[in-house]
Amino acid sequence: MRVLSKDTVDAIESLKKRYPTTLACTLPALHLAQKQLGFLSEDAEHDVAEVLDVPPARVHEVVTFYTMFHDHKVGRHVVKICRNLACQLRGADKVIAHAEKVLGIKCGETTADGRVTLEHEECLAACGTAPMLWHGMPGDGGSPGNETFVENLTEEKLEKFLRGLS
């Protein structure tokens, strides 16, 4: 293994019994790897491919296709703000502009201290509690699925949330 820890490899191994093929473990395995590493480098792809005994090109293709997988280093926190229509109708444009102002970066960028990466997101199925954002910590070593939504945003609530991220 180039970069995966023994714990991560064990966790991936234990996925295999759930599926008839090892290829099917690719998504959950990458989620686990990203939780350990923060992003999925070529080395990480190589390790996952090795544990699953699938061609590295298959794994690479998956990493580039899905938006939750990062192929380069991102901030400790990733904040994605929904810009789709239902949120826009309730003020998402201003929420996004305010987030950019508070953090001093544009969507798609990371703060200089590596604290926060800010992104646009498409509808996250919280249109009734719009505007809203998604918050995750890719490399926190926690369990995949520990991410959260923050809903019913106002500019004040957003600002308080962003400033509270350490």
Binding site: L27, G91, A125, G128, P144
Partner: protein, 467 residues
């Protein structure tokens, strides 16, 4: 504070959403206390054909978008199969405007699991995959927890409730791609590949997950199944309208006073429904609604002959936006009921701008394997951008229309149609607005950005805990 009954028409008994307000509603203990898993017990003692027959009689139709009869879908799965069969639950919820499955997953996960187990028995599958949207945190943790409990309590495992029938269940997380909600892209993704829709036939019922016969069903569809067996087919039929059995979760967003999820009988009139949501916000007038999510044609408050009784004089025609909310009537009104994610636009909304937002989304989410979709979604977005920014010409409008013609019915999946249809309907019904952008070389609605205006009901209830 919150009151569950505010979220349904007066006198209508909520069944799909009633447990969302119970604090331990998501636990096994809470579910069993409220009578849970008795429908499964009944079904485990029935023949698969009998189960399918009851579901057919119930007129349950798929809640994922297409409204396909669920009993019929299950009936297509061959009885005998040399390879394992699968039940796959579509919990990828990502159609803009739609957010009901997320609440079922986090607030009543055992209702879904009970429906899953019944479905597995009905089609003769021993394995269930629940494909859940990758971005879902709490819904994922809750459904995972529920699956674990269900194994501990013998719902899943070698002998479901002691019946001798084996049922296994795995929760599979996606990783961010709208197209994976399309059922064959979902199967590709489940198999560990990129989410590209498959050419059909073969249909999943014949060759689905891991090449085995598979039924793919939406979360809400499956959550309805236990009700059919606990309350009975007659009761279920009475909760809906002809041809559309059962209760319906309506997600409403945009410019209403009280956005949120309402449980209504199928066939409930849209105008009364809007009243239930407190009406259009700020006392403004209604400009239009997309009744079933972002991919459904827009309805305008204008007289609609198709909804009127045979021979009714024009002044007596109902409005498009009065349509009864079920698959057949919304279709008559000129749109689709889709996944019941209703978006409401007030009179101050720029329809060009709104459509541009949707077009950008579909252009971004096209998987790219069909030329009409890959190119067409890009063109539509580009032209709408020009129009909205005052750079559009008459020739652009003509191009927009020909682009949508070229996109409809020409592709592997219906993502291309999903934006072509709204474009056509927005243009047909709000033509003046489009032409105004061309004539005046600007958007007359000015600065579109509205103040962030959340409606805090759900949060005050349990959303922070249970979103």
């Amino acid at each position: 504070m919150t009151n569950a009954a505010d979220w349904a028409p007066k006198g209508f008994e909520q069944t799909l959403s009633k447990r969302w307000f119970v604090s331990d509603g998501w636990t096994y203990a809470g579910y069993v206390r409220d009578g849970g898993y008795e429908a499964l017990r009944k079904c485990l003692g029935m023949q698969p054909d009998e189960i399918i027959d009851q579901v057919k009689k119930s007129n349950l139709r798929g809640r994922g978008g297409a409204g396909f009869p669920t009993g019929m879908k299950w009936g297509f799965v061959p009885k005998e199969s040399k390879v394992p069969k699968y039940l796959v639950i579509n919990a990828d919820e990502s159609e803009p405007g739609t957010y009901k499955d997320r609440y079922i997953l986090s607030r009543d996960p055992h209702l879904l699991l009970e429906g899953c187990a019944i479905g597995a028995k009905a089609i003769g599958a021993n394995k269930i995959y629940i494909y859940i949207r990758g971005e879902f945190g709490l819904p994922y943790r809750r459904i995972q927890h529920a699956v674990k409990e269900a194994y501990e309590k013998g719902i899943f495992g070698d002998s479901s409730m002691g019946s001798g029938y084996r049922i296994d269940c795995v929760v599979h997380r996606g990783a961010g791609a709208y197209i994976c909600g399309e059922e064959t892209a979902l199967l590709e993704s489940l198999e560990g590949k990129i989410g590209r829709p498959r050419l059909k036939p073969p249909f999943p019922a014949v060759k689905g997950a891991f090449a085995g016969p598979t039924s793919v069903n939406n979360v809400e569809t499956i959550a309805c199944v236990p009700l059919i067996f606990s309350r009975g087919v007659d009761w279920f039929l009475k909760q809906g309208s002809p041809g559309n059995g059962g209760p319906k979760l309506m997600c409403v967003s945009g410019h209403v006073e009280r956005p949120g999820i309402y449980e209504i009988p199928n066939g409930y009139p849209a105008n009364k429904f809007l009243e239930l949501c407190g009406g259009v916000w700020k006392g403004r007038k209604l400009k239009g609604i997309q009744p079933g999510g972002s991919s459904t044609p827009v309805l305008k408050p204008q007289p609609c002959k198709a909804l009127a009784p045979e021979g009714a004089p024009e002044h007596a025609w109902p409005l498009e936006t009065d349509t009864p909310l079920d698959f057949d009537n919304v279709k008559k009104a000129g749109s689709m009921f889709g996944s019941a994610g209703m978006m409401v636009f007030d009179e101050n909304t720029c329809m060009v701008r709104s459509l541009l937002t949707l077009a950008n989304f579909y252009a971004h989410e096209s998987c790219g394997q069909c030329t009409p979709c890959r190119e067409g979604t890009g063109w539509v977005a580009k032209i709408l951008y020009k129009l909205e920014h005052g750079e559009g010409t008459d020739a652009d409008i003509a191009k927009l229309m020909s682009a949508t013609d070229y996109m409809m019915g020409m592709t592997i999946c219906v993502l291309a149609d999903s934006i072509a249809m709204p474009v056509k309907s927005f243009f047909d019904k709000y033509r003046d607005e489009f032409m105004d952008h061309v004539r005046n070389k600007k958007c007359s609605f000015g600065d579109y950005a509205v103040e962030p205006t959340p409606y805090n009901f759900w949060e005050d209830a349990t959303a922070e805990r249970a979103s």
